[in-house]
Amino acid sequence: MTATTSRGVGEVLARCRAEGRAALIGYLPVGYPSVEGSIEAMIALVEGGCDIVEVGVPYSDPLMDGPVIQAAAAAALACGSRVDDVFRATAAVRAHGAPPLVMSYWNLILRRGVDRFAADLAEHGGAGLITPDLIPEEAEDWLAASDTHGLDRCFLIAPSSTAERLAVVTSACRGFVYAASTMGVTGARTSVSGAAYDIVRRAREVTAQPICVGLGVSTREQAAELAGVADGVIVGSALVRVLAGDGELSQRLESLRELVAQLAAGVREGVREGER
């Protein structure tokens, strides 16, 4: 299996590694606070220093998400955001120089047709998919479509994953492996759990693929801590919360750039494993 594809995230991760740092991956849902607003916000992520943008597709039943992202998804759907809008977002992010990875619950992709979704994504600058409720055993069609269209596929691993599961899941990934830092749903947490280090260490025993860690990261300090062990740090709810704040959109986007700049500094402060 190839480690990445030409439109995938591999090149960016390799560049970050060459710079001796972890990548910063920022998540925002399409359609929040509006479709236009969300695209502007994703561009702000790139300008602020995100290396990869995780483009979330709002879904009616987001069972892996905590209250912040649930509320944003509900608001996005209420204001009429559609799956089609995702492709405008991916094209815009790509045009601003960062690879967009789409994060979507599986039924939205099934409904469009797995191959059609993959074709549309590739055509609109997409790098691949993060699939929070799809395990490789159920992913036959997606494995084929991602090969056909040259897309990355990031499956998740979790602290509960056994060694056997880690091997199965990581071998199906391309681009990077998404490691959930803790058991639970998305949302900022006050500290990085010890489970985060453990899951990265266990995953490294079975795969040479890059490993990016998400769930619960909200501060520069946490980003720095995780940057010491992971190839990338994923931040979601903390960014959505800034976007959900008071004030004009332009002010919130400014706050978003500031937070991203802090996090971007954090991933450059990581102490690599060998140096700890």
């Binding site: 039943d61 759907l77 409720d133 069609d141 058991m183």
Partner: protein, 413 residues
């Protein structure tokens, strides 16, 4: 009520490879990776229990001395006079301890919880019957219990909320989304993924990721096994049709399963037609839906063009769910079972009729099956022998029914 038209569905995208947890193309395990080890542990525990005589003996003891099994079969001739003169028998799951079939599955899963060394159970509930049954089993076995229930449902089923609290369970009212059963399941899944080390998610119907649909069916199949022997004794032959309401579909799978090999017996599921298909406010999945994934399983699903879940509606909270157990989807597509729907008005007519003709107050869910029996009896005629699963009793529905019939204003109907 009407026969469902041909489904507008295209075949599901996933190839129907024969593998565990699949019913034709339906079922599967569409879950966050974090839950896979727990599902594997559960699958192992239930397969081990299935061949363990000690487990069978303990469950049989509970059925006999706690639930009150076997549940009886009651012939209802005065009601049957409104079913085209057919002979109608009710399988009386309403007489079980806690008032519905739900206890069958709950006691078995609570035993498995103990075997897996977990000390906490969580559950979702719509009408409150599964929540009450889970709270009951938790009290009996000394387990901690949290029940998730949509806010709308806590209001229309307030009595059951009080019952769960009396039994020592914590009841969490879920306010987001449609604030009904599907949202309660989302919240229960979020709890489970966070606390999976100590907690078993005691799913109350034949939906969810493998092994739940198969396991819950197996814990309810006793309904059909008993009913099949009973009706052979009472009527001297197999019924022409077995009729049950279908929300998630556990009582229906429970009574259907033993009859699946009996090719001459029609298996008929009755969905909630709500305010009618044209109103958009219904839960008639087979009449309107197409295959999709919700809550871990591929099945018929009410969804919009993008794949977002469409909210269902029913006067009975227990049938108010936009998807359906995957085995029902397979029974339907393979032609072994038929599915129809009854609208709220028909259901309330059947509800009142059973009260007035037989002195039995059914659950609103079960009243859908009764409405089905009235129609099917008229179609088949006086020689028909119908077996109806009376899955629950109607105490919990008194407020809804009294409001519907204007009894709270001192009116009579």
């Amino acid at each position: 009520m009407s026969q469902h038209p041909e489904a507008p569905a295209s075949p599901p995208a996933q190839a129907p490879a024969p593998r565990p947890g699949r019913f034709g193309p339906f079922g599967g395990r569409y879950v966050p990776e974090a839950l896979v080890p727990a599902l594997e542990q559960l699958d192992e525990a239930r397969l081990k229990a299935a061949v363990d005589p000690e487990f069978a003996a303990e469950l049989a003891r509970l059925h006999r001395s706690y639930t009150g099994r076997p549940s009886i079969l009651t012939e209802v001739p005065r009601f049957a006079a409104h079913c085209g003169g057919a002979r109608v028998f009710l399988k009386r799951e309403d007489l079980n301890h806690t008032g519905s079939h739900k206890i069958n599955n709950v006691l078995a899963q609570a035993l498995l919880t103990q075997r897996m060394g977990k000390r906490r159970v969580i559950a979702e509930t719509g009408a409150g019957q599964h929540g009450v049954a889970t709270a009951t089993a938790a009290a009996l076995m000394g387990l901690e219990c949290t029940v998730y229930m949509g806010k709308v449902d806590t209001e229309r089923q307030a009595l059951n909320v009080a019952r769960m609290k009396m039994l020592g369970a914590q009841v969490v009212a879920v306010e987001h989304g449609s604030a009904t059963l599907k949202d309660a399941i989302n919240e229960a899944l979020r709890d489970w993924v966070t606390n999976v080390d100590t907690t078993h998610y005691l799913i109350g119907t034949v939906t969810g990721p493998h092994p739940f649909p198969e396991m819950v069916r197996d814990f309810h199949k006793i309904i059909g096994e008993e009913a099949r022997s009973q009706i052979l004794v009472e009527a001297g032959r197999l019924p022409d049709a077995v009729i049950a309401c279908v929300g998630g579909g556990s009582n229906a799978m429970g009574i259907f399963h033993a009859f699946v090999p009996d090719a001459g017996v029609r298996l008929i599921g009755i969905e909630a037609g709500g305010e009618g298909l044209e109103s958009g406010r219904h839960a008639a999945r087979f009449a309107s839906a197409s295959p999709g994934v919700l809550h871990g399983a591929m099945s018929y699903l009410m969804q919009d063009e993008d794949g977002q879940t469409v909210e269902s509606h029913s006067i009975s909270a227990g049938l108010d769910y936009p998807s359906v157990g995957p085995e029902h989807s397979w029974l339907r597509d393979s032609g072994r079972a038929e599915y129809r729907y009854a609208v709220d008005g028909q259901v309330m007519e059947a509800f009142q009729l059973l009260c007035r003709t037989e002195g039995i107050i059914p659950a609103l869910e079960s009243a859908h099956a009764l409405a089905g029996a009235m129609e099917i009896g008229r179609e088949v005629g006086p020689d028909a022998l119908l077996l109806v699963n009376l899955s629950g009793r109607g105490d919990k529905d008194m407020h809804t029914a009294a409001t519907y019939f204007g009894l709270l204003d001192g009116e009579t109907s």
